[in-house]
């Protein structure tokens, strides 16, 4: 599936509807499972929408199609966002989403390769950028024109392994690699800048020789245009710092660290769905 039409208002409207549907799926899934991570799932919904419904070449009917672009969800705990995108694009039935985190279910609490469309098991934080770097290098050795995308959490940038990959990818001039940071400023124990400061983040990553962009991670037009602009630079990996709001779309979850890893209760579920319905 690939929609390479020029980005017009009609396409953008469709993408916004999809990202809202994904947000509703996220709330439904986590409420049904009674556990999971709504905050970082909601903050990444627009990025995942832009990738799966406009940018990436992929085929839900043939998950291992050799020509596909690869997506690595390094912040694996945000998988409800990815599962919703996979279901909405046809990898499996949307009705499967309600089984999130149930024993023997297709959809585990963190991404697992048993799920169609999942490239590799993730969620052990800090590993995804190295994995994406290896895949990008392998694709280049194979002469493939496929691209690799990695979605990183900001909290996991505190893991040392991230910075090994930060050194390696520019060394290998991996122009086929685009990494996106879901910069929502919060991690499970509080604000990133209080736990272990990341700033100045842009200049830090630039000093590792990445092409770095800073964008509004909820503006789907800006996400798509920035990724496309990055494709023109073929001798450097691209890092997009996407400024987002944790819990985006549900008022009482926004910027509220307590919803990093907590399911909404009955009343919260009802309010959340009502708010998202109003955006449909």
């Amino acid at each position: 599936m690939n929609t390479k039409e020029t980005l017009n208002d009609s396409i953008l409207n469709d993408l916004k509807k999809i990202s809202n549907a994904i947000r509703k799926d996220i709330i439904e899934m986590i409420y049904s499972a009674k556990s999971g991570h709504p905050g970082g799932s909601l903050s990444s919904a627009d990025i995942v929408t832009a990738l799966y419904f406009h940018i990436m070449n992929h085929n839900p009917k043939d998950p291992f199609w050799a020509g596909r672009d690869r997506f690595i969800l390094s912040k694996g705990h945000a998988c409800p966002s990815l599962y919703a995108a996979l279901a909405e694009s046809g990898y499996f039935d949307v009705s499967e989403l309600k089984n999130l985190r149930k024993p023997k279910c297709l959809l585990q609490g963190h991404p697992c390769t048993m799920t169609p469309g999942i490239e590799i098991s993730t969620g052990s934080l800090g590993q995804g950028l190295s994995i994406a770097t290896g895949i990008a290098l392998g694709l280049r050795l194979d002469g493939s024109s496929s691209k690799v995308f990695a979605l990183l959490g900001d909290g996991e940038l505190q893991s040392g392994q991230i910075w090994e990959a930060m050194m390696a990818a520019p060394n290998f001039k991996l122009g086929n690699l685009t990494a996106i940071i879901d910069r929502n400023n919060l991690q499970i124990d509080g604000p990133t800048e209080k736990v272990m400061p990341l700033e100045p983040l842009k200049s830090k990553i630039e000093s590792f020789n990445w092409q770095v962009y800073e964008i509004d991670g909820h503006n789907i037009r800006e996400i798509i245009q920035t990724i496309n602009r990055g494709f023109k630079i073929t001798d450097k990996p691209k890092m997009i710092i996407a400024h987002t709001v944790k819990g985006k779309g549900v008022s009482f979850m926004e910027n509220n660290v307590s919803f990093h890893g907590k399911s909404p209760n009955d009343e919260e579920y009802r309010i959340a769905m009502k708010e998202l319905e109003a955006n449909s």
Binding site: Q158, Q187, I188, D189, V195, M196
Partner: protein
Amino acid sequence: MTGFGVPRDAYGEILSELGETRKDIVVLDADLSSSTKTSSFGKKFLTDSLMLA
């Protein structure tokens, strides 16, 4: 602390108890102080708790 309970709760509580009498205990944590329950030690003994996330 005695009886049955959640292991992580017991771990956190006992660490806090030990902190009262032992001056040679420092707790290291990496962004999971709420999950591993080391946060109660951290709140009581600020200077003996290091977040290494």
